[in-house]
Amino acid sequence: MKKALIVFLLFTMLFGVVAFSEQYERNETLYVTGGLWGPPTNWNPALPWDAVTGTNGLVYEPLYLYDAVHDELTPWLAESSSWVDEYTTEIKLRKGIKWSDGEEFNAEDVAFTFNLPERVESIYYRTLFNKMSNVVAVDEYTVRITFNQRMYREWNYQLYQIPMLPEHIWADRSSEEILSSSNEEHCIGTGAYLLDSYGQDRMVWVRNDDWWAKDLLGLEVAPKRVVVVVALSNNVVLGMMMKGEELDLSNDFLPGVPTIKRAYDIHTWYEGAPYMKPDATTMLFLNNERKPFDDPEFRKAIAFAVNKQEIVDRVFEKMVLPANALGFLPSDGWMKFYHEDIVNEFGYEYNVEKAKEILKNAGYKDVDGDGYLEAKDGEKLDFEITVPFGWTDWMESIRIVAKSLKTVGIKAEAKFPEYNKYFEDLTHGDYDMALNNFGAGVTNTPWTLYRWLFDEIIGGVAYNENFERYADSAEMRELYRAFNETKDDDEAQQYMRQLQRKFLEDMPVVPLFYNGLWFAGNNGVWTNWPAEGGDNQYYPNSYQGGWVLGGLMMLTKLQAK
């Protein structure tokens, strides 16, 4: 036994001398958390909901980026694009971009990417393909896409959503392979990073020193390696942040950041409240198909009754902002369509007396004297508000919503089913009230918000739209489609005005607050973090889908100490 142990030790010592363990240079490596929650298993841009964060954005790149802070569509793989007629857009690509295996990137790749859904029918952008009647590479660096409908706002959104795929690698792959491959062997893009290694709890991206943007745009990403760390709980992230040098950027929700910020030199976008940039509007969904939520007066009363500021102060320690009446994120792309006069005339604010008045005038009375209102037909009203169990900030938020409703006599209770049950009920219209913000994230156009709120439900199950099942959705659809179909900004504004007026008159959903882009930077090793008014003003988002909003550009501005 003892002899075996000695032999084992000698063996390992021998190897220890021979085998060398590389350690990444601290000031060349950026450690990031928030975007990865399990072992990386997928690097396939055709499965964007599954692929490891960074696949889309760091490795595979779209034609444009969207600067979510300054509301700018930045030409990226494309050099420029324009509408040659109502239905046709022409995209001119940059020359000199190479895939990481040395092949040239050109119009063939773009045409291939947009035509792929013809062969691979279940790919995620199939319906976009259905709106295209023709995609052709006019010459080596020019692509023409002809649509079968007008869709200017939506197209600008798609320009930064779809990563370009290399034709010379993907053309020979079968449909089955494309949809079920992990793509580990073929993770070849035009982007700033390459797949280096991964483990059960981390993903390591290494810098592509032949990245096209170095020569063509004079841009360089500062970290040689970006290590995305799986941190399974907030206490781990906080602990790592407080130790000083273990973690650089966290996109996790960290309650307590305002309190420990000073003590541990933690950086946030704003120095004071709200600390975080607004990222997605969290709405209180009311099931419009259930009585009495089918009554606009009842819904409006709820809008007046909810104390949004209390949620902001008590639940989020002021790390979020209360939503405006329309639920428009305070980003330029949306706010330029915000009509103050309509909001002033038809909108609402926190006013308990007004809420009670509306309910009274609409015929809701407390018939049996229990302190709670009954329906117009005398039926008892007792509602449940649901959010997924474990989402503690939302859990506390709906407790406050329930409390607000009680002060005007509406009986409501906060409930926390497991996520799958919550989502099944929400999508099947099997709920009273619930919180959600999945489709209200920051984009280049409020078209995405209205599409998410009012799109048509097919087959009875609303996976990704219209959870509230608003009765007049068809009217809203006409309006936001018209908005999408016009390039004329004045015309567009008219449609917006109509949308906003109807929204405020009927209040199908109640916007509560803006979920923040949780961002904490550690000044221990890297500096020049994104900040309001600072030198680095890029959206510090390291989630899948967030790199193209500013996360990638942020990396070009960071500086190692």
């Binding site: 350690q23 072992p39 279940s122 319906t127 059960q200 799109d455």
Partner: protein, 332 residues
């Protein structure tokens, strides 16, 4: 002996069949559908026609588009071929690979913690059973530590030794700045990350075993045969040895049962230390109804527990003469 074995094996096979069937059945009875929650993550795709196309594709690729009884048959067929399916959560990684990659991290934590705490706990417990004065103050300590939740002790250790005193790292199985390699530096780095999670398991379990052993020894030392040996003037050491052999039996049972459950991982410890084990993956699989990962993990758990029970039955034949006689006496 043969008849004893045959009967045991038959019972275990039936138990296995029923347990695996239940394990297959229960996640599918939960409300909600894993495909739907994948579809929710496709949130950026602005159209639900799209979602419908994708939904039918996913249902087909996970074999969920056939009637439920057929899915059950397919499951058994695949299992005997060693194919535990592909995980829904961690698509397209096969379940066997997920378990293979995650389990070693857990085992290297839980196995030493269990074995060391058992050995040291037993010795310590037996010692305290004899020394009355030490027993007075050490027993309350054991009660306290065995009542500590793993989670609580983990956070306490992480905070004091990890964050405040900066002696140990607080996350991961090995440094995020290294790749695994067969080198001295890596092994030291791994051990450095290993200490705190190990301690959070070891300390709590130690208390349990020590208390159990202490109680058993005291009981044995007061038994008739011990008293008899004492009056006969036998050396203390011999009496203690006999008592120890009797007292260890229930501890062995306890150990075997714990060994069977090692395959579940150490969920709360993994969460506190962000340790990449199977416990967290299994937990997420249950919550998000990743049918295949749940089935695969529970298959191992069922096998582990049954094997452990079977092992106890066999071991007892050898270490407990009473069992040996009854088994032998039943007729070969």
């Amino acid at each position: 002996m043969g008849k004893y074995l045959r009967r045991k094996i038959l019972i275990y096979l039936i138990t296995f069949f029923v347990a695996v069937t239940l394990d297959w059945f229960i996640p599918r009875m939960m409300p909600g559908n894993p495909i739907d929650s994948i579809l929710a993550r496709v949130a950026k795709m602005p159209s639900q026609e799209q979602v419908q196309i994708l939904r039918s594709h996913l249902m087909k690729s996970f074999g969920m588009d056939v009637p439920i009884f057929e899915q059950y048959i397919n499951f058994w067929g695949a299992m005997f071929k060693g194919d535990l399916g592909v995980s829904i959560n961690y698509f397209p990684k096969p379940v066997t690979e997920i378990i293979k990659d995650a389990l070693p991290f857990d085992l290297l934590l839980t196995v030493p913690a269990l074995l060391l705490s058992w050995v040291i706990g037993n010795k310590f417990g037996a010692f305290a059973a004899r020394k009355k004065r030490m027993d007075n103050w050490v027993l309350p300590i054991w009660y306290i530590i065995s009542a500590m939740p793993y989670l609580w002790l983990g956070i306490l250790l992480s905070w004091t030794l990890g964050v405040n005193m900066d002696l140990f790292p607080v996350a991961g199985a090995y440094s995020f700045s290294r790749e695994p390699s067969f080198s001295w530096e890596f092994i030291i780095d791994y051990l450095h990350h290993w200490v705190l999670p190990f301690l959070s398991l070891f300390i709590v379990q130690l208390g349990g075993w020590a208390i159990g052993m202490r109680n058993m020894i005291i009981y044995e030392l007061e038994a008739d045969y011990s008293r008899y040996m004492e009056t006969m003037g036998m050396p203390q050491k011999l009496i203690r040895r006999y008592a120890y052999k009797n007292a260890i039996l229930p501890q062995v049972t306890g150990l075997a049962i714990q060994v069977g459950l090692l395959v579940t991982g150490a969920l709360t410890t993994e969460i506190v230390f962000s340790y990449p084990g199977i416990g967290y993956l299994l937990n997420q699989a249950i919550l998000r109804q990743d049918y295949f990962l749940v089935q695969g993990c529970f298959l191992f758990i069922i096998i582990g527990v049954l094997l452990a029970n079977f092992a106890i039955d066999i071991i007892y034949v050898f270490i407990d003469p009473r069992v040996r006689h009854s088994v032998g006496g039943d007729g070969a």
